[in-house]
Amino acid sequence: MSAHEQSFVHIASVRLLLIVWVALIFGTWLTVSASNVDLGFLNIWIGLAIATGKAVLVALYYMHLRWDKPFNAFVFLSAFFFLFLFIGFAMMDTAQYQIDLIPGYSPGMGG
């Protein structure tokens, strides 16, 4: 079997591994620092954005997705898509049962 059939096997260079490592450590520092600043509802979204950035770095470089067959990335991302649906619908549902949904009308409160 010839080498050209190996087009999807990628060897990451040590330099790349270390650069990603530094970025991940920096991301961790950034998340912790950001959590110490009170930005109201923005905090959770900023935190999630940084965490997702770190997750993307791990997936692309440490998990070789960048050089992998696109179908593998598709399989993995589909999990996040279904997770998004799962969380999204659960949140939409529970939002319909909020006690203050109709202003001034709270039958569950027992007067």
């Binding site: 990628h10 591994l17 270390l18 067959k69 999990a79 659960a90």
Partner: protein, 305 residues
């Protein structure tokens, strides 16, 4: 960057149902990615529980996160990131048949994994000692050994007390975090009288999208001297979710250690000298997902404000 030319897959054992080594490798990889997708969804159920409870009872999460040590959580995040680096490096070593490097990286990865579990054990132990457990097991208290020394009142603490007492408090702070020590004393004082009252309050407290008024403004940040917050109803929910999520994650870390041990033994037997790096690659992929999940757990459990 790509060093594909170095890879020699000729002469590798190929099972009879595969065309060639490349197809065999790609099939293994696809199977692994499907497995990882199911892992994400496995944890997904717990993330849904987290989201729904946090949307309905934000005060429980704000209260509960004070009992988690942010710096220990950050330390564990750094440990796992380091282990991800060594795992990725192990894959590279296996691809290039650098067996000594491979063994070293596998050992380092296991070392980091044990370090992670060690820190986790310290955290769990502190929760256990103070009764900060799941559901019906949630009975916040000062543990018996410490009780005699720690039974100081809030006034003692605030007026400075004698040096001896202050030292005891700092000793307890080392166990978990400072907040723990202070809240415990207050909980003890109030416990007998407050218990039935809390039970009665439960039904009248609104699930409140905006949270019970006052919680957010009462002594947060700066005033570490003050008692943080009144314990909200159903505070145990936070600890149920905390233990389920970190526990399931911890089991995955244990499984990872087992897998790395298997790789190490394979390396010692010379399995990877033939250029068969698939096993290392697959285990590393699994390990990176364990790392990914922790990145989110750290954010969602420890860094609530």
């Amino acid at each position: 960057m790509t060093e594909n030319a170095h890879l020699e897959t000729d002469g590798l054992a190929v099972d009879h149902h595969f065309e060639n080594a490349d197809q065999q490798y790609q099939s293994a990889k696809l199977g692994m990615w499907v497995f990882l997708a199911t892992e994400i969804l496995f944890f997904g159920g717990l993330f849904v529980a987290y989201s729904v409870y946090r949307l309905n009872h934000p005060e429980v999460f704000i209260f509960g996160h004070h009992f988690l040590d942010k710096s220990l959580g950050a330390l564990n995040t750094v440990i796992l990131i380091c282990s991800s680096l060594t795992a990725a490096w192990a894959v590279r070593a296996a691809q290039l048949k650098q067996i000594r490097m491979l063994k070293g990286m596998l050992l380092l990865t296991m070392l980091f994994a044990f370090g992670f579990l060690g820190v986790k054990a310290v955290e769990y132990n502190s929760k256990w000692k103070h009764g900060l457990l799941w559901a019906r097991e949630y009975h916040p208290h000062v543990d018996h050994e410490e009780a005699s020394e720690i039974l100081i009142t809030k006034e003692d603490f605030e007026t400075g007390a004698e040096e001896g007492v202050v030292e005891d408090v700092t000793a307890l702070q080392k166990v978990g975090d400072g907040v723990l020590a202070e809240t415990e004393t207050v909980l003890i004082e109030e416990a007998p009288a407050a218990a039935p009252a809390a039970e009665a309050n439960r039904s009248t407290i609104a699930p409140a999208a905006e949270g019970p008024p006052g919680l957010a403004t009462q002594g947060t940040e700066e005033s570490s001297e003050k008692v943080i917050e009144v314990e909200p109803a159903n505070a145990q929910t936070f600890f149920s979710i905390y233990f389920l999520m970190t526990g399931l994650h911890g089991i995955h870390v244990l499984g990872g250690i087992g897998a790395f041990m298997w790789l190490y033994l394979s390396a010692r037997r010379g399995y990877f000298s033939t250029g068969h790096f698939t096993r290392v690659d697959m285990v590393a992929l699994y390990w990176h997902v364990v790392d990914l999940i922790w990145i989110y757990l750290f954010l969602l459990l420890y860094l609530i404000e």
